[in-house]
Symmetry: C2
Subunit: 479 residues, 2 copies
């Protein structure tokens, strides 16, 4: 079945059931129609119904009971609709970002600002003591190791730990398959350098993380922005059409908890994506930096799992889960190992030795999974509180993403409101946000905002969202 | 006076005095002709004579006695001639380095190899304990600071220390003028990114450090290799002719202890270089990574000192003096501050927090200068022993640089010997060296070698040089 059709059917199933609940046909506690019944009644596959139900569960409409089926949950508190999926651009665009992002980043780092702009974990949520203990232990046990160069591909002890954690998610991975970088930013930069040249066309999800846009600009790449569903990720029909029409040299995808959408690409879509690109020999750069921050029970797989050709380059780091300031990231570069290693060598040569060894130590100790469980609960609850606060104070018609992981919200403002003006007014009021224009090369998200819920939710955050709501009401009334 | 003429006169003075000593006219203990007398006798400026005498002192012919003048020293043990200065290329060349350097670097890192290839300080020479103590103190005093992002331009405490040390050498420098990078490699990469675009022409000293060649290749820059004197640095007449003939967009210079020559560009040359480029609005990227490792009494100035236009970008790091594995480097980007900050943001965003703070702490404590004195003595003695060993075992006709700082030697082999074959045979014998071909885009240094004397000199080093000498003799005899 074509993915376009699949997505259409998925939306149809989800909307049908959501409508039955909202219209009162199905009430709290009722059992939803069985998968099999619905599948045969609507003539769609079981897996499509399953996807729709899983999404409805994430939205708070349904809950799954083991061995029994799906049941209607008590009415969810927030009833905000999802943002509209972006349409796909049809022609490659030259990227011009300029210094806007730098200005916004600099402003958002002022200490008096409520920091809702940068996607940064609150250090209160991170295992600061345990990590610093690991680092101190490295210094005393191997005093020279922290002083000496640790040249690419990086510390073997760390590469082994990364391989151990990646293999269950991404197929066979050995320590020798890992190249350590200075954070995920450098991982993406060297991966793009390794597989593209200036002037090439790259396809990417829309909206797209502003740092990727900056990278595309720096490398002289032209981009095709592919429409992306707020729950299912990249529209693969649109991608297929795009790679058929254009000489696309690489695809960049944040399949697991897309930034800023929070969408999760289902495994079948990842498999289709990889197959689609394999048949055309197009490399896929997957950014998995948010992958460990899933709100569902299962850690989502990597697209790399479906790769038989070595065409997938997986990038990640510990910056959203352990220690942003350690600058420990990596690439699993598949068949592009030599090129990625070379690009890393030229970009910054060695990576900091002591923090690599400290992360290896921390991962080997085994406390990472326990930490992640706590961290995921915290992010989920912070996001939920932020969504509720947006629902309570933003104008009617505001639409908000329902992230399935990570810690950012994507907000669509009503009435074609100008988020750049909202950003400016918010900055004056001491609240830093990211206007949606930063997430496209075409200015298409002018009425969107990205909000980070990485910081502990407190009275200050509440007031900040209320301030944003008040400003948005003002803009809607033409102030 | 034209620099070409000045260089010619300088060589004439130096050769005259060296000839008088070698011919026996001047003997050990004799006072050399006074500066003033020689200046008026030869009709050259006092400063030219002074430069020639300083160089003869560095070569071991003369020694200066305070308030008295220059005296002939006992015959220096090694009598190796200096390598021939390279001629300047006349047309911009596209750089093709490929993976050769990566292969050589990887091979040289095998633990059984005597490491004469990579310019890497021996950790036995570095203040490992004091640095690790600073790092541990940072962790316990500011536990969150090492975990949190430290975004560009980097930690204020470190930028202040760098400004304090740079100002006496490079004119006014404030903490706000400093951008921290992940080592000098990244400093050079972001500086080049900030002032050039693919296809541009850049002028650089010849021979040129292989990492710069890799960077030029990666950025798609074409280069003009400018002949460089083994003691005085870049030939400025050749540079002037080159910038007159070509649309040169930037010049890269390692004025203080050039890698691999060990030359030091005199202050008047730096002043002329800066003025030459200022009148044409061409940025100068100066790499000062070896500047603190001077064997003369005075720390050489930066070219930046002569800059009135903000056109000089100074790059450096602590990788050759304190801690290669800390990955702490910086740029003083002059008028290109915004562009360099942006390039750094896109290349790898934040730099490791803990090691920045540890270096700031170490510099603030005040032990750096004492450490440097010891380190310079060690490098100088290691280089001297290596030169003696080369003199003792390499074939007659071998020429060797006389570094005025740093810790690498540049060796010219006799009889157009192929250093790539020597490199290969040495690798088989367990000795890693850098063949001269890596130091040009034109293959012109095929009969040169770079040897690093960064490691403590011991019996193993002695045997390694003897092995190289034996192999060189073999190659000369056609084996």
């Amino acid at each position: 079945m074509e993915a376009h059709e699949a997505q259409f059917l998925y939306d149809r199933v989800a909307n049908l059931i959501a409508g039955m609940i909202e219209g009162g046909t199905l009430r709290a506690g009722d059992r939803a129609p069985s998968l099999r019944a619905l599948s045969s009644r609507l003539g769609v596959s079981l897996s499509t119904v399953m996807q729709a139900y899983t999404a409805l569960e994430a939205r708070g409409f349904l809950e799954a009971k083991p061995q029994s089926g799906f049941y209607v949950r008590p009415r969810p508190r927030s009833e905000l609709a999802l943002p509209s999926p972006a349409r796909s651009g049809s022609n490659p665009r030259t990227v011009r970002v300029g210094g806007v992002v730098d200005t916004i980043l600099a402003a958002s780092q002022q200490p008096h600002m409520v920091p809702l702009a940068v996607a940064m974990p609150d250090s209160a949520l991170l295992p600061v003591k345990a990590l610093n203990r690991c680092l101190a232990r490295v210094l005393s046990r191997q005093p020279n190791a922290s002083i000496d160069y640790c040249f690419p591909p990086g510390a073997e002890a760390l590469r082994r730990q990364i391989a151990l954690r990646s293999a269950p998610l991404g197929g066979e991975v050995h320590a020798d398959d890992v190249v350590i970088t200075s954070g995920a930013t450098e991982a993406l930069a060297v991966s793009l350098s390794a597989v593209t040249s200036a002037g090439n066309v790259v396809a990417v999800e829309s909206p797209v993380y502003y740092l990727l846009l900056q990278l595309f600009e720096r490398l002289g790449l032209r981009i095709l922005e592919i429409g992306t569903h707020p729950e299912l990720g990249m529209n693969l029909d649109a991608l297929e059409a795009a790679v058929d029409r254009n000489d696309v040299k690489a695809v960049v995808s944040v399949g697991n908890f897309h930034n800023p959408l929070g969408s999760r690409m289902p495994p079948e879509h990842k498999a289709r994506l990889v197959a689609l690109l394999a048949s055309r020999e197009i490399p896929l750069i997957e950014d998995d930096i948010y992958g460990d921050l899933h709100f569902g029970d299962e850690r989502p797989e990597l697209a790399r799992r479906f790769d038989r050709e070595g065409l997938v380059l997986t990038c990640s780091s510990v910056s959203k889960t352990l220690a942003p300031g350690y600058r420990v990231g990596w690439v699993l570069p598949g068949r592009f190992h030599t090129a990625v290693l070379h690009a890393k060598q030229v970009a910054s040569s060695a990576t900091t030795s002591a923090t690599q060894l400290a992360v290896a130590e921390f991962l080997a100790e085994g406390g990472y999974d326990r930490h992640l469980r706590r961290l995921r609960r915290a992010y989920q609850s912070q996001l939920e509180q932020m969504r509720e606060a947006v629902a309570a104070s933003f104008p009617q018609g505001t639409r908000v993403s329902r992230p399935q992981g990570g810690f950012v919200l994507w907000v669509e403002l009503p009435g074609a409101m100008d988020s750049v003006r909202l950003y400016e007014q918010a900055r004056e009021a001491g609240v830093s946000v990211m206007p949606g224009t930063l997430f496209s090369s075409s200015g298409r998200f002018r009425s969107f905002l990205r909000l980070s819920a990485g910081h502990l939710w407190d009275r200050r955050s509440e007031l900040a969202i209320a301030t944003l709501g008040r400003l948005a009401h003002g803009l809607l009334q033409g102030h």
